[in-house]
């Protein structure tokens, strides 16, 4: 039973991943990628990593939908209504992908995988929390700052009208001058 689910999902993940490059529509490509991630998530769930599996589903849905927003904003012909091809540089791409495949496959076959020592933890989610609050604290803090930097950087880069447009050159206005009012204040 588990094996069947695993194989179905593994094949499904690869097939959906391949579909990303076969479809014309940006929307379909995005959701094919999402399907691929969900298949992978089910396989992760089979490894008894409940939190990680569910997290992959949760995060990937939100992120793929956001990706669809950006893809459709920038790519022409987003619905694939006009015939077009998403393939570029076929030969180079083929060489690179074949090389990567051979490398990874060789890695799987040649690496001496370690044997399992000890039993898996009863609650992997709790282990994860302990690691985050203990030994991996630094990682988390650095990531926090990186996320903060991301926020500031995107706002700086993307915001058309900044605070000097809204509050005046001396930031003298009490209420900002916006094309349309928001939900808090005016």
């Amino acid at each position: 039973m588990q094996l069947v689910v695993f194989v179905v999902c593994a094949v499904g993940a690869v097939a959906a991943g391949a579909a990303v490059f076969r479809v014309d529509s940006m929307a379909r490509a995005t959701f094919a990628l999402l399907a691929s991630f969900v298949f992978v998530a089910v396989d992760v769930l089979l490894l008894h990593l409940a939190y990680l599996g569910v997290l992959v589903i949760l995060m990937m849905i939100m992120e793929m939908v956001v990706m669809a927003v950006f893809m459709i904003m920038y790519m022409m012909n987003p619905a694939g209504l006009m015939p077009m091809s998403m393939m570029h540089n076929r030969r180079g791409a083929l060489a690179i992908s074949a090389g990567t495949f051979v490398l990874l496959a060789a890695g799987i076959l040649l690496v001496r995988w370690p044997a399992r020592r000890g039993a898996p933890p009863a609650e992997p989610t709790r282990q994860l929390g302990e690691a985050l609050m203990g030994s991996k604290m630094l990682v988390m803090m650095v990531l926090g700052l990186a996320l903060f930097a991301t926020m500031v950087a995107t706002v700086v880069l993307a915001q058309h009208r900044g605070r000097y447009d809204r509050y005046g050159d001396e930031l003298e206005r009490r209420v900002p001058d916006d094309p349309i009012r928001g939900g808090v204040g005016r």
């Binding site: 939190y51 929390g129 500031v152 706002v155 916006d178 928001g182």
Partner: protein, 113 residues
């Protein structure tokens, strides 16, 4: 896990069954595609075009803040055992992120149109 697969399967079958019932009792088969509704006017262009959203900065803010949920859920499990340091660390993390939100708000990223 088995329950999930079972319910997902049965729910999908139920959806299909509903379509089947609809097929049996409908008055007519699905006809040729119609033009989309435009108050009785023919369409000039396909609605599926590059859709410009004006809240794209909000999506980036959201994704950044959302990443933090990856840590937040496991964190809830260990607050009691790790103690005050866990709470201080997590809320410092959240405070940094919220400072980013306040900055974005001041720059007008939460307003659009």
């Amino acid at each position: 896990m088995t329950a999930v697969l079972l319910v997902a399967g049965v729910a999908s079958l139920a959806v299909l069954a509903l379509y089947g019932v609809g097929r049996l009792v409908r008055v007519a088969a699905q006809g040729a595609p119609r033009a989309p509704f435009l108050s009785g006017n023919p369409p000039v262009e396909h609605a599926l075009s590059r859709y410009h959203v004006r809240w794209y900065t909000v999506t980036m803010l959201f994704l950044a803040f959302d990443m933090e949920m990856v840590f937040m859920y496991p964190w809830t499990l260990v607050v009691a055992t790790v103690g005050a340091s866990a709470v201080i660390e997590m809320f410092a993390f959240l405070a940094v992120l919220f400072a980013g939100v306040l900055y974005a708000w001041r720059e007008g990223a939460l307003r659009w149109v």
